[in-house]
Amino acid sequence: MLSHLFSSELSLRLVQALLTLTFTLVVLFWAQKKRINLFQEGLQALLRGLAQVVAIGSVLLLVFRGSIWGSILLLFFMILVASRVTARRIRRVEGSFAIAFLGIALGGGLVTFLMTWMGVIDSHPTSLVPVGSMIIANAMNTCSLALERLLSEVETQRSLIEAGLSLGVPAPKVIAPYLERALTASLIPRIDSLRSLGIVWIPGLMAGMILAGTSPVSSALYQFVVIAMIFSVSILSAFISARFLSVRLFSPAHQLLLLPPEKKPFSE
């Protein structure tokens, strides 16, 4: 019914956004009454989300008009932010940003470049930016999972790891099973989303294409392309960053460098 009242698309969307915001506020308010303590945090997150998404919309407006370099710059900026988010998961480790950045940038960058070069991703900004951002976001998620898992395994199993080291086994060999477990665990969400693709969820990109009028079958195929890309990016990024972390955890003399969360671990 709204669409009859507003002629310009932008004003229509504005009113839609306001209505949704009001509705969400009502829900939050109701939740507060039910002692679900979210109001302040939820309100902050909502406003912040709104501001961010409008800001990126405006940036995209500029980028879509400019050359491909604008898109590349924007994607690079996204990689930096994603690396910071992931690095927080392992901030106890020195060089956490570099570890996250290498994984996300190398894994995401490599696949985005290859796919664009082969023509799977259209190099036009309207395709490169959204697909690239999805790739980066997923690389970020998988890296966060893998790094967090690896670090917490090393922290909880530190006496086993040092037992292995003390027997003269080189650090890469000692850490290998933990690395393997962290990688496998980090990829579970990716595998599950591939498995349930189309049945449990119709992903955002496909939904968007259908909304924009593309035929469902061709939207579906393109969605598959993107999900499969995301899958390989996730594997590569998680592998690179976790591997890098596992190297950083030890000195060249095969000594576990990580200081325990609470100091004084060895006295009993």
């Binding site: 086993l160 040092e162 292995g164 086994v169 095969h254 000594q255 060895f266």
Partner: protein, 230 residues
Amino acid sequence: MQTVFDIRNLTRVVDGEVLLDGISVSIKSGEILAVVGPSGSGKTSFLRLLNRLDEPTGGEVFFQGKDYRTIPTPFLRQKVGLVFQKPALFPGTVADNIRWGPSQRGEEMTNSQVESLLTQVGLVGFAERKIDNLSGGEAQRVALARTLANSPEILLLDEPTSALDEEKEREIERLLLTTIDQRRLTLVLVTHNLAQARRLATRVMVLNHGKITFLGPKEEALHVKPSFLQ
């Protein structure tokens, strides 16, 4: 007698906290050096430095005449076997644990080699036992056998009998002495039990706040007790 470890002014400082302060001692081949001292005096820190699990922040260590920093760490650690105060066993069976060190280097131990090691630590018939249901003392001895499987030249034991009653303790002491003798091992034994130090050791080193307060033949260590109990 040959010197296994020549330790000069060994120091480790972590975040401004002095764990070990200018330790100088030379450990002769075949001797049994007991390291005693109150809790927190740096005994475990000392063993970890000899195995090079931690890095010294000062001083020098020579292993068989060579600066131990020039020796590849995996090789050094195989020769300098360390058994922790609290044993950490790998998931699986007792035999899995004993085979672990050699198998990581591509050497597979035979069943009879495993059995003979278990005999040496007084755990005959334990090979296929799961590690989850071992007693504390049994676990400590599995850890000892696991280190012996590496054929070390010097053994660093951190409170090896702390989980045992007196009778078991004596039994393990006897087994230890036999093993040391058969394999011509050098032993550094950390213990808080001065009586045990006197029974087993040839020399005693007393640590207090990371410093050596006494180093000499065990007979002279008789006078040590009051000062180190404080």
